[in-house]
């Protein structure tokens, strides 16, 4: 049961931020695509805007790894 809890916690810690990232990118993507159609010089900003929400899922992944390792220990 405890092992299940550890795995569930790890899954949630990566899954929930993944959903949040997906939602954020779904809003940013069309907006930045529209902006770039008018101002191609915004390409760099577009790269940053797309990459910024990914921090959430990356940190979630790190937390998941830590949870799994602590669970295993």
């Amino acid at each position: 049961m405890e092992a299940f809890g550890v795995v569930l916690a790890a899954a949630l810690s990566v899954g929930l931020p993944a959903l949040a990232t997906a939602w954020a990118q779904s809003r940013i993507g069309p907006a930045i695509a529209a902006s770039m159609a008018e101002k191609p010089e915004l390409t760099t900003t577009a790269i940053l805007m797309i990459a910024i929400p990914e921090t959430m899922v990356i940190l979630g992944f790190v937390v998941a790894v830590l949870i799994l390792f602590r669970g295993a220990a």
Partner: protein, 630 residues
């Protein structure tokens, strides 16, 4: 680095202004500055009515020449300089030539488009005729009927059913509808209706918005059977006519291409001179020109002007205290090895003059981060091959060449990291070649990899803060103090954390806390009350480098999954194909994702500490070259 600029002021007799501009244009190093506030007796040069008219004529002529060159496919030709300087009769000749060739090229382009269109139309009819040959040849047997030829796009079978239903509803059985799929995927329809019902059918076709293809009048109109032989005869003539158009274009290019290029350069040079004239100031007898030039070119400018005008023209340098550094144009100059990475800096606004050019740091850290994320000898070698191919296909100095060289550096670091982690196409090297990791195995040692990534982040952010101190210490000492305090506190936090987990001696905790307590009020004094929030965000910045580990682990796991497909799927051959496809997908991901994240780590986490954007682009007054228009 950003090269040192000197602000130069050139004085001379007013009647030599044009000649001095000629010399400056030949030198091509001076970035002309807007004239300053007017002084008594000094005014900016205003173009005369004749010069303004000449400016308009030159712009028009340039447009003709440009469009002629583009029409001849000669825009990508080698850079040409107009030497010697064009005369008035040259400008008039180039303008006439540009206009004449442009008209000829436009005519040829229109002719070519019409021929291509005609060819496409005949091919469409040819397919249609092939589909209904027998029926169309019997058209003479139904003289009181009208035939409609219709094309439906592929997959529009429902439209066909609706059309048949509408026809039946409206005219009962007084029609025949034949359909045939064409090789292009479209569906050809032949609808034969009794002549009295024709107007109703036309209305239905219009409502259904289907593509009707009536027999073109140019082929006689009427029956398709009569028009088709004429069309086929024409089809065999078209390639010859198209060839003639291409030959004519090539002849024009051969005959006039070189002169048009010379004209392009000559016209642009004269236009640049006229555009530059209002940037100079004059008194009743003298002129003054101000501008920026790389400091090392000052002796050359002085020598050339002295050689041309003797003591009549004088060059002086404006003292640094008399100009604002943000007005000076910026030229990045880096060693050959680092130069391609200027491309990544140019994606952002240029750094201000007098601040730090981050190119050398990007040249070291960008490929290192990329390499750690991909970290596979096999992928690194593939990327290296790709970089070599791109390099061979690109022109020196082009964006593609820089991208290829950056890819090459990334490939080298990827191979090195792959050797550190013992990875060749995931775990294939370990299983087949007995490859062993020099540092650690990324599949299992996640925590060491995380520590490595965050440590690199700490080094990168600390370096950014140190550069922030260096960049601000002269002009913004208070800001530099704030950056310094942030740096000290970040190092103290790192030391305290490492000491608490016994990586560093426990005795370091107390000094670290003392540093934090002392630095905190100084930080608030220097940067204001938002400084603690910024400090916290810096800790977040360091943790953000965990993405190196996350993407690295994702990359190796995908490669391992690809390798396991060989055993997981029944047939070995199918498994190998799937594995190769999966590796290809992983390689494609490895090209994009690590690039974006390595860029982000630089632009947000690193540059945020010291980068000062808003530099003016260096645009020296010189002769036109193709590079100058990029």
């Amino acid at each position: 680095m950003i090269i040192e600029m000197a602000r130069l002021r050139i004085f001379g007799p007013r009647d030599r202004l044009g000649d001095v501009f000629d010399v400056l244009q030949d030198l091509g190093v001076m970035h002309l500055a807007e004239p300053g506030a007017p002084a008594p007796g000094v005014s900016s040069v205003e173009l005369t009515t004749a010069q303004r008219r000449e400016q308009r004529q030159l712009r028009r002529a340039l447009d003709h020449v440009d469009r002629a060159l583009a029409g001849l496919g000669l825009r990508a030709g080698p850079a040409v300089r107009a030497a010697p300087r064009g005369t008035r009769s040259d400008f008039a000749r180039w303008a006439r030539l540009g206009w004449r060739v442009r008209r000829a090229v436009d005519r040829l382009a229109a002719r070519e488009a019409a021929l291509q269109e005609e060819r496409a139309l005949i091919l469409k009819y040819q397919q249609f005729f092939g589909a209904f040959r027998a029926l169309l040849e019997s058209q003479s047997r139904w003289p009181s009927a009208t035939a409609y030829h219709v094309l439906l796009r592929s997959g529009e079978t429902e439209a066909l059913i609706r059309l048949r239903g509408s026809l039946r509803e409206l005219i009962g059985d007084a029609f025949e509808l034949y359909s045939q799929p064409l090789p292009s995927g479209e569906i050809a329809l032949l609808i034969v209706v009794a002549a009295p019902a024709a107007p109703q059918v036309e209305r239905i076709l219009a409502q259904a918005r289907v593509q009707e293809i009536p027999v073109p009048v140019s082929y006689g109109g009427g029956a398709l059977t009569e028009a088709i032989p004429r069309m086929l005869a024409r089809l065999s003539d078209l390639p010859t006519e198209l060839d003639a158009v291409r030959r004519e274009r090539a002849r024009l290019g051969q005959e006039h291409g070189a002169e048009l290029r010379r004209g392009r350069a000559g016209l642009a040079d004269r236009l640049a001179e006229l555009d530059a004239l209002p940037l100079s100031s004059v008194t009743a007898r003298a002129f003054v020109i101000e501008g920026w030039a790389p400091a090392r070119t000052r002796p050359t400018i002085e020598q050339r002007l002295a050689a041309g005008f003797g003591d009549a023209v004088v060059v002086t340098e404006v003292g640094k205290e008399d100009w604002a550094s943000e007005d000076a144009p910026v030229v990045l100059s880096n060693p050959r090895l680092f130069r391609p990475f200027e491309l990544l800096i140019r994606l952002l606004p240029l750094p201000r003059y007098g601040t730090i050019d981050p190119t050398p740091f990007v040249a070291v850290f960008f490929p290192a981060f990329f390499g750690l994320m991909v970290g596979d000898i096999g992928y690194g070698l593939l990327l290296g091959v790709l970089a070599l191919v791109l390099r061979r296909r690109s022109r020196p100095g082009s964006t593609l060449r820089s991208a290829a060289e950056i890819a090459g550096a990334c490939a080298v670091f990827t191979v090195l990291a792959g050797a550190l982690f013992g990875e060749l196409f995931g775990d294939l090297g370990r299983r087949w070649l007995g490859l062993h990791p020099i540092a650690f195995n990324r599949e299992e040692a996640l925590i060491p990899f995380l520590i490595l990534a965050v440590s690199l982040g700490a080094v990168h952010v600390v370096l950014g803060l140190a550069l922030g101190v260096a960049a601000n210490i002269r002009h913004h000492p208070r800001h530099a103090l704030g950056r310094g305090m942030s740096l000290a506190m970040l190092i103290a936090i790192i030391c305290a954390l490492l000491a608490t987990v016994h990586v560093l001696p426990d005795a370091l905790v107390t000094p670290a806390v003392i540093v934090l307590l002392v630095a905190f009020p100084v930080l608030i004094f220097a940067e204001g009350v938002v400084a603690p929030i910024e400090l916290l965000s810096m800790v977040g910045n360091v943790l953000s480098y965990a993405r190196i580990m996350a993407l690295g682990v994702a990359s190796v796991m995908l490669a391992v999954v690809a390798n396991r497909m060989v055993g997981a799927i029944g047939s070995v051959a199918v498994g190998v194909v799937f594995a190769l496809l999966f590796h290809l997908v992983n390689f494609a991901i490895a090209l994009f994702s690590p690039t974006i994240h390595a860029l982000r780590l630089h632009y947000v986490e690193f540059f945020g500490k010291f980068y000062s954007p808003g530099g003016v682009r260096y645009q020296p007054f010189g002769h036109w070259t193709r590079e100058a228009t990029r």
